[in-house]
């Protein structure tokens, strides 16, 4: 079967529980071999979306194709193509790491030799070889997540759903997980990642969609999304009130903080605007004590978009260009 251009295609996906709408008609396109991140706060509907795409839940309405298959008419074809690492640990705590992987090899109907090879491979890749013979109950949070992901990969899935894969992990384990995820995409796998960490989406995703109250309120590359909002500035701190006073005279539009002795000058964060600011300060002979450049990150985007509910419509327009 030829590989479809889009590993995931979702149109008009809706799901409600009683009169509580969880997904209010979302559209998603994820090109094969890319990382797509669905970003949103708790309760936005991320897990519901993943559960529907991974055949755990039936949608109320919507067209879905996962690796070219329809979960409604051919769920087993979808299941054969996907792997899911959910929010809750999906390892058998009573089994050892190696036994957990062997269970997956058997359920993926691999022959013995192929299974053993794949298990040894994954144990090494996820740095679990040493702990392979210990029961999963003795594993740390990070190890358990790595085992979880390794189990998902035993069947060589073409589309991997990762539902908040690093929630609750310490920063170091999170970075290890990120490296594993990047490695996966390098091998041609498509990844659908949900997260509530903006940094995670920024670090990993080719495209990001912001989900809030069951609607996608913006979509684009991390860079495109950051451009949607102004918010970049250069922050200048001065040694005394006199310097602050003269600097404030130099820049017309700026935010001044007399207590902190700082001045915020709007900027796109680029080198050109930074040089301009420094030149103007030099021209006025004002000394600065400290300078920081603040580029807008996805946090700013998210706060701006979700802070003002009426922006949704305009930004949907903006992301459709």
């Amino acid at each position: 079967m030829p590989t479809p251009a889009n590993a995931i295609e979702v149109t008009g996906l809706r799901k409600a529980y009683g009169d509580k709408t969880v997904l209010a008609g979302i559209d998603l396109r994820v090109p094969t071999g890319t990382i797509f991140s669905l970003l949103g706060p708790n309760g936005a509907g991320k897990t519901t979306a993943v559960n529907i795409m991974s055949t755990l839940l039936r949608p109320d309405a919507g067209e879905i194709r996962i690796a070219g298959h329809d979960p409604a008419s051919d769920p087993d074809a979808v299941r054969a193509a996907i792997g899911l690492t959910g929010q809750f640990s999906a390892v058998d705590n009573y089994l050892t790491g190696a036994e957990n992987l062997a269970l997956m090899a058997d359920l993926n109907h691999l022959d013995r030799r192929e299974g053993r090879r794949r298990i040894a491979d994954l144990l090494a890749r996820f740095e679990l070889t040493e702990a392979a013979a210990k029961p999963a109950t003795t594993y740390s949070g990070g190890m358990k997540r790595r085992l979880d992901l390794a189990m998902t990969l035993v069947g060589n899935p073409r589309v991997v759903f990762l539902d908040e894969p690093t929630t609750g992990l310490d920063p170091r384990s999170r970075r290890t997980m990120w490296d594993s995820i990047r490695g996966l995409v390098a091998s041609g796998v498509t990844i659908f990642l949900t997260t509530q960490y903006l940094e995670e989406a920024d670090q990993l995703a080719d495209r990001v969609a912001l989900l809030d109250h069951g609607r996608i309120i913006a979509e684009g590359t991390p860079a495109e999304l950051k451009r949607l909002i102004p918010g970049g500035h250069i922050r200048l701190r001065f040694a005394g009130p006199a310097e602050l006073e003269s600097a404030a005279g130099v820049f017309g539009t700026s935010t001044r903080d007399d207590d902190a002795l700082t001045l915020q000058v709007p900027s796109d964060g680029g080198v050109r605007s930074l040089r301009e600011v420094l030149d103007r300060l030099d021209g006025a002979a004002v000394e600065i004590a400290e300078l920081t450049v603040h580029t807008p990150d996805l946090d700013d985007v998210f706060l701006t978009l979700t802070g003002r509910p009426d922006t949704a419509a305009t930004l949907e327009g903006a992301s459709n260009r």
Partner: protein, 261 residues
Amino acid sequence: MSTTAYALRDSTTMLRRYLLRARRYPMIMFLIGIPVVMLLLFVYVFGGTLGDGIAAGGGRAAYANYVTPGILLLAIASAPQLTAIGVAQDMTEGIIARFRTMAIFRPSVLTGHVLGNLVQLVVALAVVVGVAVAVGFRPNATPVEWVAAAGLLTLVSFACVWFGVACGLTARTVESASNLPMPLILLPFLGSGFVPTDSMPDAVGWVAEYQPFTPVMETVRGLLLGTGIGNSAWLAVAWSVAITVGCFYWARARYNRDGVR
């Protein structure tokens, strides 16, 4: 390829998973421990007096014979609790989402539990029979009667394990899963397990006479000790089949509900 083609293979895999877990956390000790303690209690503490009531001057020896089928059913009645706990653990943890998103024979998670619990229970019953013989149980059965008794006990065990699976799927938490099948443990007492039903007051005796475990105990007693069986054998088989089928459909309905718990 349809996943039904993998029914046997996936069920075997899940059985292997169950047995691996059972080897590490031997719940079978519970299945053997309770009936053996009850057996010793009833033979050595109450047996002398109760035995005289079963057969004039029969004493402890008569009671060891009488009570053993009841003790075996007590072992079977305590099994659904373990089954329900195991199933509820799987259903409330993340692993069920993994199994449900794999292209496997869907009921294999349950068949693994059923087969694993059955194997464990049959082994436990064999051990309990051994202990019973050691404390004075003296069956006079022919090999054919032994096979028939073993077959019936396995059939009832199968029914009770399915009951446990259905309870485990119905419960919302592991704790309530362990409580749901508990009343079953009373059935051998409220039947002909420990004293004949005709020695009970009318109302209690009526319940005892017509509940599912009594014909099973009467049949096992008849096969192993040569007492009268009457129509108990057919009733025992009919009850077992009815409970199995009922609990199978109950479990299937719960398992296939749309929704991730």
